[in-house]
Structures are given as structure tokens and as C-alpha cells.
């Protein structure tokens, strides 16, 4: 019982150490891509659709 607990704990701590950073960077990059797509993409249809979002968020628009 105590062995299995300690094993789970050590597994959990290595998971958090290495994967936390990967997850954080991954989430931040994905988030930045979403913001880029809606706010900065040069595709005309996307620009027109998110036009008011861009102006309101003070993103460079035109």
C-alpha cells in the first residue's frame, strides 16, 4: 500500500515537472495562434468578419 502510494507520488511529480512546462508552452502557443488568426490574419474574409473585434481590441486593423 505504502509502496504504491509513493510510486504514484513520484510518478505524479515527474509528470508535473516536465509536462507542466510543455502544457503551458503548448497552451500559450495555441492561444497566440487563435489571437493571431482572428486579430492579425491578412485573409480578407477573416478581416471583415472580425473587423469590429479588431478595432475594439485596438489591434492594428486597416
Amino acid at each position: 500500500m505504502s509502496i504504491s502510494t509513493s510510486r504514484t507520488q513520484s510518478a505524479a511529480s515527474t509528470t508535473t515537472q516536465s509536462q507542466r512546462i510543455v502544457a503551458a508552452v503548448g497552451a500559450a502557443v495555441l492561444g497566440a495562434l487563435l489571437v493571431y488568426f482572428a486579430g492579425f490574419s491578412h485573409i480578407d474574409a477573416v478581416h471583415n468578419a472580425a473587423h469590429d473585434t479588431r478595432h475594439s481590441s485596438a489591434f492594428p486593423c486597416h
Binding site: 502544457a23 497552451a27 492561444g31 487563435l34 482572428a38 486579430g39 492579425f40 480578407d44 478581416h47 481590441s57
Partner: protein, 233 residues
Amino acid sequence: MIKRIAQTAGFTGLLAALLLTLLQSFWVAPLILQAETYEKPAATQVHEHADMAMPAHEHDAEAWEPEDGWQRVLSTTGGNLVVAVGFALMLAGLYTLRAPARTSQGLLWGLAGYAVFCLAPTMGLPPELPGTAAADLLQRQLWWVSTAASTAVGIALLVFGKHWALKVLGVAILIVPHIFGAPQPLVHSSLAPEALESQFKIAAQLTNLAFWLALGVISAWLFRRKADGQYSA
């Protein structure tokens, strides 16, 4: 962990985007629509003078554009949702490295987000109504992104740096883009009257502040709620 980030970001983005849409619909969007009434006749005049010489940058006829009314509100809501989920993903990602100890700490994260993505960039590139003269779009976008990035790094060093030298470095990194300066148009001009322009600037700033504070608090609250029983952090 990934599920926790996704859930936090998804629900936070949804709620914050709804708040943003509400604030926009009643305050910001009417100002944009009013500004466009000055822009439209001027734009057609320009077209008459030089329809062949217009650069491809102009977006009209060919590309899809939402009709004014429910279509436009709906597509703006969609845009808000994508942007809000994107920002919330960044926050939730950061929380996995530094979990907020209290929900109220979300306010500080929200303030930091506002400083990074709104306050600092607007110091060089103020919120613009349609029809405002501005420098090249790509250059402004580059300056905007660099300023946001350096503000983020600067604030992080200032807040989390243990040594005073790191804090000084943080302040220096904060200031650099403003010394460099934002790309400005050769001549500042605006089709909309100045009163409308200044009203829009206030509306945009306050709307973004409210949006970011909501984003920070909701995300911290949700992130901590999901934490119960999973992590002690």
C-alpha cells in the same frame, strides 16, 4: 492537466467573450458604425479617382463581409470568442506554472494581460476608428507584437525576479519598444471628428480593461475549482 487547461480556457473565453460582446454592442460598435458613415462616401470618391490604382490591400466587393445587423454582431461575437479563448489559453497555461493562490489573484493576472495586450501597444498605436490614417499595416502589427512580448517579459521579470538587477532589466525591457517608437503615418488625419475619436479611445480602453479583469477572475476561479482534489497547488 491538459483537460484542466482546456476547460478553464473554454469556459473563461466563452463568458468573457459574451461580456465583451455586450459592452461592444452598447458602447464601442455604435461609435465604429458612426465613424463608417464618414468613411463610406470618402471611400467611393477615392474609387472614382483611382479605381485601377487602388492597392490590393483594399477589402471590398470580392471578399465576404457580414451585413450590418445580426450578421455583423454574430461574426463579431465569433471574433471575440476566438480572441478570448486564445487569451484564456495563455492564462491557463501560465497558471499551470504558477497557480493563483486565491481567486482574487486573477485580477492581477487580468491587469497584467490588459497592460501587455492593450495598454502598452496603445501607448504607441492608439485605438483607431475606421478611416484613421496609419502607417503600413504589417509594420504596425510587428511593433504591436514586439511591444506585447517585451511588456510581458518586462512585467514577468519585475514581478517574479528575485534580484534587483532582474527588476531593473525588466523595466528596461518594458521601455525599449517605446524608445524605438511605433510606426506613425506621414500625416495624421482622421475622417471621423475628433470628439468621436477620443470617445472611442476611452470606450475601447475601458471595455478592454473590463474584459481583461473578467478574463483574469473567471479563469483563476475556474482553474482553482478544477484543482480541488487533484493538486494541492
